[in-house]
Amino acid sequence: MRSATLRRRLTAGRARVFLALGALALLASGCSVNMDSGSSTANIPGPDPGRDLPADALNPFGPVARAQDRLWDLTFPIAVAVFVLVFGGLAFIVVRYRDKGQTELPKQVHGNTKLEITWTLIPAVILAFIAVPTVQTIFELADDPADDAILVDVIGKQYWWQFNYVNEDFITASELHIPTGREVFITLDGSIPEDPVERSGLYGTPPVLHSFWVPSLAGKRDYVPGAIRTMRIEADEPGVYPGECAEFCGLSHANMRFTVIAHDPADYDAWVANQQAPADSPTDPLAVQGEELFATCLACHAVDGHPSQTVPSRVGPNLTHFAEREAFAGYIFDSPFGQQVEKPEEAMENLRQWLRDPASIKPGSQMPNLNLSEEEIDALIAYLGTLE
């Protein structure tokens, strides 16, 4: 019979398909193992000491991230269960009901209302069950700041982050230092000054969207020009938590990193005291020369304590304590002055190249090429090194 031959031709190679589906199932089960442990580094208790640890959203180090993670821990197993159900069912059907060359047609079933109702209601109930803690958490996380919260105003620029410690009254960039065990209330301040002079002192070019994200401490929140957004973070343990910009913002969207550094409260207070102090004028002659040269840089950067500074500009990062930071240029290059720097020579060369032509190593950077001579760069770096 012709049609039977055809059928045989069409059904050959079934085994291969099962293999493929089996591989998939393996992958799926591997996924449940993998998701919870994250990457290998995540098994170490406490965050890594280094700056470059993986930013693992499923390995929370603070109450906010933990609240978010709890919901994941609730939904992920349900999702796996649904998947196993569907996939298991499919696998069963595919094996059990394959065409065995019967001559009778199968029973022509058109449907079953009871079944329809069942598989409408059960998912609905499951979802309602997930919805309750979801809504609770949404409102919990939207609470007002705690009384003792540290208030930090955050502004995203193309392509770096500015941190304004409201009560402590100082401004820094790219490194957000916080004490452990205390809430930090972040205000993503997109308000736009009415006064054009003030406006251009704040934004060199018009602001765009960014998103503030520290995976181990909290989910992200967008920085929205023209609006104010808030979020909270808190760290349980001292450590260095990487942060990233998570909203596409231009050429160096990928180069807009920062870190949150959590200290013991005492260390934190010391850090604050240092930040509040203006920069001392240098004594080393090269650095003195650098300080003079730096007057041009004040068009965009602030160094509190610099003799020529009148109104501090906010167009570029505040550099008053530049030598204290571990990295520069959107936190993508190790700073030669950092404590942790592994390859100081390379870091120094990067800093020199940055001063020669910023956009060459960070695309779209808003810092112009100032056509500095190598001697001027020597002097500036000597000065920057004193900004502790």
Binding site: A142, D143, T187, A227, I228, R229, T230
Partner: protein, 106 residues
């Protein structure tokens, strides 16, 4: 679905059109009057009154001039679904905008 062949019989008469036209004109005049006396009436009166008049005019033109009263119901459904969808989604956007996204979202 109801019998579709009951088309093309009772179109309104010419005088009916003229009457509707007159009513529309009067309603527009009322709207303008509301505007003229807006200060003595106050927003609490004018805004709802204007909305009601507008909806009234809308319905009159739709039902009579566009024959929705007389045509196949599927046409009415098409139109109304468009209006309702537009009204619903943009109402949500506006509600959201005015309630939430405007200021700090504590």
């Amino acid at each position: 679905m109801s019998d579709a062949t009951e088309e093309h019989h009772d179109h309104p008469s010419r005088s009916a059109y003229l009457e509707i036209g007159l009513i529309l004109a009067i309603m527009t005049a009322l709207e303008v009057l509301l505007y003229v006396f807006r200060e003595s009436l106050g927003r609490a009166v004018t805004t709802p009154a204007l909305v009601i008049l507008t909806v009234g005019k809308f319905v009159l033109v739709g039902a009579w001039f566009m024959h929705l009263r007389f045509d196949h119901p599927i046409l009415r459904r098409l139109f109304i679904s468009g209006i309702l969808l537009a009204a619903a989604v943009f109402a949500i956007v506006m509600a959201d905008w005015f309630l939430g996204a405007q200021g700090p979202s504590f």
